[in-house]
Symmetry: D3
Subunit: 61 residues, 6 copies
Amino acid sequence: MPFVTVKLLEGRTEEQKRALVEKVTAAVSETANAPKENIFVMIEEMPKNHLAVGGVLKSDQ
Amino acid sequence: MPFVTVKLLEGRTEEQKRALVEKVTAAVSETANAPKENIFVMIEEMPKNHLAVGGVLKSDQ
Amino acid sequence: MPFVTVKLLEGRTEEQKRALVEKVTAAVSETANAPKENIFVMIEEMPKNHLAVGGVLKSDQ
Amino acid sequence: MPFVTVKLLEGRTEEQKRALVEKVTAAVSETANAPKENIFVMIEEMPKNHLAVGGVLKSDQ
Amino acid sequence: MPFVTVKLLEGRTEEQKRALVEKVTAAVSETANAPKENIFVMIEEMPKNHLAVGGVLKSDQ
Amino acid sequence: MPFVTVKLLEGRTEEQKRALVEKVTAAVSETANAPKENIFVMIEEMPKNHLAVGGVLKSDQ
């Protein structure tokens, strides 16, 4: 019963999100030996002013 | 000092959220033996195109 | 399809954990109008030297 | 490669967020002995009706 | 700069974990259009007495 | 009422953890304008075989 969370910067299209959850689910199913219907994937989008690397917001880089 | 996070699909009313945090807090307080004022509950809502089961977004099911 | 995470200091008994997940699930089911079999509860225990309040570890208080 | 998440009530200005990630990154770098460029800070804002203390939503207090 | 967390029941082998992070990284890179070196995958294992479905711990099912 | 989570590779000493939560709390208090006693910091340690960068576990790099 794997639970997967993918946090990434906002801006992906619906088509990209659709492909993302499909491919990630397949990858987890295959390698962790779990049936696909038991795998949950959650997408969390971050705005650029809510992620910092090296102490600097992405919106300032 | 329990911290509770409830992730669920968006669409609940204010009245439902109010009842949710009240009842969940009572349940944790009673079973984990913690005073209510030390219990924090956070609600996180997911849009239907950000949760997938079996590799398919909820917005596509 | 609510996902609930309960983070708390380690030290609860199996009986307390069993009651915790049962009561929390009932509380979410009743208030968020979700069938119990769709509700997932995860417990995460913290050692006392991994939680700080006011800048001081619980193990130092 | 520390990953820091700061969850707080919404309402901080851009200037506050900018200072927050800068100072938190410096604090982690200095104490955990990690180079700043390897430190990631994520801000997550909560609306007042999504955080409860003692079973009562912040929007009701 | 996607951050992926995979929570699953404990018990996978090192070989399974190695394959899991490799395949998940490839899936995210391909679909979210992110270079592999910017993708972080974290595994979090849960003991069976820390996950409940339908109000019942996995260790009791 | 900020909640801060710091995920990092295991291996820091108690003294480093003590300094980490003290300095991070001060940084958040100063920049987010929150009293120290309302700030919670949680440390989460990852073993090297549970974090991957670029698809490769830290334990394999």
